[in-house]
């Protein structure tokens, strides 16, 4: 059968498989292997630099698969580090709120105090610890690297790759894109779904005409691309991305016209690419498609980006077990200065929120159906190459033969 496609494909697709065995992935022992062989070895994005605006600011980042709570802090020296959120005295949770700016972090259990660079700087009733060397009892650090607006950590004793190596081609293709933004919405949902199923809900566009028929019925497709093929799809060593095409004949609803009339157009409004006044880095709309709508990228294993010209969404899928996933979502947009900008933000976050809720609505159904053993394999199309890539990367890290 001759392939009819409007997609430009890039990358080495030779290790991808169109049939994926799913039932095994819901077993606790399989999940234990994923934790050790994927989550303990991968670079994991855990926080946003946006949330560390100045020295001595911190956020707490929970990393469920490693059962870890981290303090991500910008030290007095300006450097961003991550530590286990654990007091070195008896193991109490050190920081109990989730963000703040303080010069010293004090434990509520016995009052030990740490600087934001992790040094132990205060021990109460110190003479009663005759053999304590404070220099040996700073907070326990985790490998940390900052890339663009993301703080990545790696739980391996010695990471196998640098973050730049791990990101590969992505590393220098998004320069500046995620900066100078405002978080305009965030959501969290704990779903009774396998994390692979959960992240798979967001890395193909084949579902959009069906799942999203009530919320964005005509934003993609149109006469020239009725099957809504991706304009561009690329896989790298660990990651994948695609560009979705807009439907130039989409119906703009009256309130969308009001909301985007004075501010910048956000999802699902996609003006011709040549009208975008922003300089966009080469990773965004990589094929420079004039009819560009938005990009989706999977930063393996936990993060999905949805990227438009003036906005982006980060979607995290943190496994809490073989069939429980902590889904965290945040929408960012250009900074609001005017009432028109505030209206743009309001329309965008609520329209995309409903689309997101439809996607999440599929996860538990699919997990339950597959867990029943009704079928052994799922079958994936070429428009679902990012899912094939997800499993190729996962299985390679797990040491499973294809």
């Amino acid at each position: 059968m001759n392939e009819v496609t409007q997609t430009q494909f890039f990358g080495d697709f030779s290790r991808l498989r169109s049939r994926i065995d799913m039932l095994a992935r819901f077993q606790p022992e399989f999940y234990a292997a994923e934790v050790e062989r994927i989550f303990r070895r991968a670079w994991l994005p855990v926080a946003s630099v946006t949330d560390l605006p100045r020295e001595n600011c911190y956020v707490v980042a929970d990393v469920p698969p490693l059962k870890a709570s981290l303090i991500v802090a910008r030290g007095a020296d300006g450097k961003v580090r991550a530590f286990y959120n654990v007091c070195r005295h008896r193991g109490a949770r050190l920081v109990k709120d989730h963000a703040g700016c303080r010069k010293a972090l004090s434990c509520g259990f016995h009052g030990w105090t740490y600087a934001t660079d992790g040094r132990l700087i205060g021990v109460t009733d110190k003479t009663q610890f005759p053999d304590l060397d404070p220099e040996q009892h700073g907070l326990v650090a985790v490998n940390t690297e900052v890339w663009e607006d993301f703080v990545f950590v790696n739980f391996a004793d010695k990471p196998e790759q640098t973050l730049a190596q791990w990101l590969g081609k992505f590393a220098d293709q998004y320069t500046g894109f995620f900066s100078d933004r405002q978080r305009i919405a965030s959501y969290r949902i704990v779903v009774d779904a396998n994390w692979n199923v959960a992240i798979n809900s967001f890395s193909e566009g084949y579902h959009a005409a069906y799942v999203h028929r009530k919320t964005v019925p005509d934003y993609q497709g149109g006469k020239k691309n009725p099957q809504r093929h991706r304009a561009y799809l690329e896989i790298t060593e660990h990651h994948g991305r695609y560009s979705a095409q807009a439907n130039p004949n989409r119906r703009v609803t009256p309130v969308e016209a009001i909301a985007y009339g004075d501010g910048r157009p956000l999802y699902p409004s996609f003006p011709p690419f040549s009208e975008t006044t922003l300089p966009l880095p080469p990773g965004v709309n990589a094929s420079r498609d004039e009819n560009w709508g938005f990009d989706v990228a999977e930063v393996f294993p936990v993060l999905i980006w949805i990227i438009g010209a003036h906005w982006h969404a980060n979607l995290w899928f943190w496994p809490m077990g073989a069939d429980k996933t902590d889904v965290r979502v945040e929408f960012f947009a250009y900074k609001a200065q005017t009432v028109g900008d505030a209206l743009s933000h309001a329309y965008f976050r609520t329209r995309l929120r409903e689309v997101f809720r439809e996607d999440v609505g599929t996860m538990e159904q699919v997990t339950n159906a597959l867990r029943s053993g009704a079928m052994r394999d799922i079958v994936l199309s070429r428009q679902e190459f990012l899912l094939q890539q997800h499993y190729a990367v996962a299985d390679a890290m797990l040491g499973r033969s294809a």
């Binding site: 989730h98 959501y187 009432v339």
Partner: protein, 117 residues
């Protein structure tokens, strides 16, 4: 807090909507949306739609971070309108989508990884 909020005089006709619809956050607007029957939403939508461009024009004279009290009421009405228009404009039969993920299991706006908005 919404009951007695002032409106600019030329928008006095919108006063009956203030208590229920001049809401200060996405979370409050969504909660109001899904507990409102769609026929009642349509009444609010129609009243706001008729004045929306005029409201925008009036508000464009103010800075977001320095909004007088009456203009702030008007802005909350307008933002609630924008955030709750989807069921009307997308022809839903209810104010929530039946097969989307249940709202009572979704936390909005603050959770442990991110600071509060």
């Amino acid at each position: 807090m919404t009951g007695n909020r002032p409106l600019p005089p030329q928008f006095a006709a919108l006063a009956p909507f203030v208590a229920e619809w001049a809401l200060p956050s996405e979370e409050a607007r969504l909660a109001k949306l899904v507990r409102t029957p769609i026929a009642e939403l349509k009444v609010f939508y129609d009243a706001m739609f008729a004045r929306a461009e005029e409201m925008k024009h009036y508000l464009s004279g103010f800075r977001l971070e320095a909004m007088p009290e009456d203009a702030a009421t008007l802005l909350d009405l307008l933002l609630t309108f924008v955030e709750t228009a989807h069921p009307i404009e997308l022809n839903w039969s209810e104010t929530d989508i039946d097969d989307a993920f249940a709202l009572d299991r979704m936390t909005i706006g603050r959770f442990n990884t991110f600071p509060p908005a």
